[in-house]
């Protein structure tokens, strides 16, 4: 009776090709699965700002008596989607122009050229940008300089004697307020 031959070692090159590479393929497959499953939350987390990017909400600016007819005033509102650690950056400045007792224009302070804060000069009725010299008329339309368009305007509403605006997004050419 012939003695039983010892079991061949696992990495024996005499083994048929499919069996030798089996565990490696299982390993690669499992790793790919783990990477695919793991990438779902990672990508979702990284891309999460896109879900809130277009979110606007109505915010109270103040009683109508704060905005005299015929004047343009600088005011601020709190960003509707602020966090407790935002500090002063939770505040958003804007210009309110009361054209008539029931007609308003609410301008973003950001120049439409590159976003610098424009300043209001009531004497000449102009907004001037300190960065590259863009100028706008009192109704927000472009007067001169590099801006490609007039000032960004927020939607507004009068509710029970108070002025509200629809804000919450930094106005740019891609997402005008």
């Amino acid at each position: 009776m012939a003695s039983p031959s010892p079991a061949p070692p696992r990495d024996d090159p005499r083994l048929p090709e499919p069996r030798r590479g089996f565990l490696l393929r299982v390993g690669l497959g499992l790793s790919a699965l783990a990477a695919a499953l793991g990438s779902v939350p990672v990508l979702g987390f990284l891309l999460s700002p896109l879900r809130t990017a277009g979110e606007r909400k109505w915010v109270r600016l103040g009683p109508l008596s704060d905005f005299p007819v015929g004047e343009t005033r600088l005011t601020t509102f709190q960003n509707p989607s602020h966090q407790t650690w935002d500090g002063p950056t939770a505040m958003v400045p804007c210009y309110v122009r009361r054209v008539a007792s029931d007609r308003f224009q609410v301008f973003a302070v950001n120049c439409t050229h590159l976003g610098c804060p424009v300043r209001w000069f009531p004497e000449s009725g102009l907004f001037m940008c300190p960065c590259h010299g863009g100028v706008y008329y009192d109704n927000g339309s472009r007067a001169s300089g590099p801006p490609p368009r007039g000032l960004f305007e927020y939607q507004w509403q009068v509710r029970r004697g108070e002025l509200w605006v629809r804000g919450g997004v930094l106005p740019t050419l891609a997402t005008p307020a």
């Binding site: 976003g115 610098c116 100028v135 590099p146 919450g168 930094l170």
Partner: protein, 489 residues
């Protein structure tokens, strides 16, 4: 002493028996380099690397105190500047180190470009170097945001405005840049992540591969005019050069790197001690809008270009030029991978360097004293010289008041003071007739607002009668010619 030394030696031997790096270090130190390259022209890359390490050290120390939230970042910078021992100095070293690192990297890049080091077989070394340039500029820009002051806050808005110009996906890019719909807490947190984890990680990895390639492929031999690079013969010739006229990297070449790097570190320390830290400037409070945000010195050229270019070219400059520029830099070794290396026989390469450098310097200079920005307080705070007011009628003086009160001075200088946005008006009456002045005031032009709706006719009359007096005594005011005055309505 001797016994102590031998004990240290024994520990070293024990460690190296396990780490097995001693041989590699010895080989690297002793590897031959061409004798010509032991030169003061070859010290800029190593100095950039040393400054990078200095930035890592000072950055880690600053991160021990810095608070990356918009509510507290500014205060923590103030505490570093004023309360914590040597905090101001470490901030200054980090800020000056940043400027030195960008400057050295640009000098290093210019040198290897002029010496043809990007040619075969060092294409990949150059391409990784281009990546290092972008990463370093990324560190400089995100670092400017870490100094979270008013400039940083509005600078983020400017970055978002640039992203907003990208067609179709602009709003997504703005959202990803800011981490939300506006510049706020999540924006600073993500810039902190980029400045402290992501970009430095990539930077150190890429820098090590860059250095490894320099050692493995060999440092670029000194370019000789007429000695052309040929893919078939270059490697053998380089090997022969090392054999026939090579020196050991340490100490022959290394000693110059050592001296120069030490001098650079000393220069950073001196600048930090003498000039102190950068900012922070005003609080990052959006409610304070009396500010003219400006970028740091290495981005001033872009700020200037964006003011001076015609509006229709701007989006192209912002979106297309960087892509093309990076592509050209990356493809350079494939456009011109062989042939002449010496700058003495590459006039086009020298011309490109001269043009880019002079453009960079000119735009930066303009950015320091921006003539295109209105002088926001000239109308209220700048006096008129008496000679521009003497012997004027009451109506003309009234016009001078209109000139000041309607902010004309913000853009137009009088008597050498005021804005530079528009032309100075000291001699305006020589160039424009009364009718032309009225037309210019009422209708404006592409570069000047029309004041038609904002001036009473009486104000226009006063303003124009004042402007008509603005001519030198020896030169009369412009007049309508007899022929055209007859036909004018």
């Amino acid at each position: 002493m001797a016994r102590w030394l031998s004990r240290v030696g024994k520990i070293g031997t024990w460690l190296d028996a396990r780490l097995q790096v001693g041989g590699t270090i010895r080989d690297t130190m002793a590897h031959p380099v061409p004798r010509d390259t032991a030169s003061w022209f070859y010290v800029f890359g190593s100095a950039t690397f040393v400054i990078m390490v200095l930035q890592f050290v000072t950055g880690i120390l600053l991160a021990m105190v810095y608070v990356p939230t918009p509510g507290e970042a500014w205060q923590s910078l103030q505490a570093l500047n004023g309360q914590i021992a040597f905090g101001w100095f470490l901030r200054a070293v980090h800020g000056w180190g940043s400027n030195f690192m960008v400057a050295l990297l640009l000098i290093h890049m210019t040198q290897v470009f002029l010496f043809g080091a990007f040619k075969y077989p060092r294409e990949l070394t150059w391409m990784i170097g281009v990546g290092l340039l972008l990463l370093t500029l990324g560190m400089a820009f995100t670092g400017q945001i870490m100094r979270f002051d008013a400039d940083a806050y509005w600078g983020l808005g400017i970055g978002a405005s640039m992203m907003g110009r990208v067609p179709f996906v602009g709003s997504w890019l703005v959202g990803l840049l800011l981490g939300g719909p506006i510049v706020a807490g999540q924006t600073l947190s993500r810039f902190f992540t980029f400045h402290v984890f992501v970009v430095p990680g990539l930077l150190i990895g890429a820098a090590l591969v860059h250095v490894l390639l320099v050692v493995k492929v060999g440092i670029n031999d000194w370019p000789m005019p007429g000695r052309l690079v040929n893919r078939k013969t270059y490697l053998a010739r380089y090997k022969r050069l090392l054999h026939e006229d090579g020196v050991q990297f340490v100490p022959d070449a290394f000693q110059r790197d050592l001296v120069f790097s030490a001098l650079i570190i000393l220069a950073v320390l001196v600048c930090a001690a003498v000039f102190g830290p950068f900012g922070p400037s005003g609080r990052p409070d959006p409610r304070m809008i009396d500010i003219a945000p400006k970028p740091d010195v290495f981005f001033l050229w872009l700020y200037a270009a964006l003011a001076l270019l015609p509006a229709e070219l701007e989006t192209a400059l912002i979106l297309i030029v960087p892509v093309v520029a990076i592509a050209v830099l990356l493809l350079l070794p494939f456009i011109s991978g062989t042939g002449e290396k010496s700058w003495k026989r590459r006039p086009f390469a020298v011309l490109v360097v001269v043009l880019l450098a002079s453009g960079f310097i000119a735009l930066t200079w303009l950015g320091l004293q921006p003539p295109w920005s209105p002088s926001m307080t000239a109308w209220s705070g700048t006096p008129l010289p008496p000679r521009l007011l003497k012997e004027r009628t009451p109506l003309e003086l009234q016009g001078a008041l209109v000139f000041q009160n309607k902010q004309c001075r913000n853009c137009h200088a009088l008597g050498g003071t005021g804005g530079d946005r528009g032309p100075p008006l000291d001699n305006v009456a020589v160039h424009l007739t009364r009718d032309q002045l009225i037309r210019q005031v009422l209708q404006g032009s592409g570069e000047m607002p029309a004041y038609g709706d904002h001036l009473h006719p009486a104000e226009v009359a006063a303003l124009v009668s004042y402007l008509e007096t603005l001519h030198p005594p020896y030169q009369p005011a412009a007049r309508v010619s007899a022929a055209s005055s007859g036909s004018s309505p």
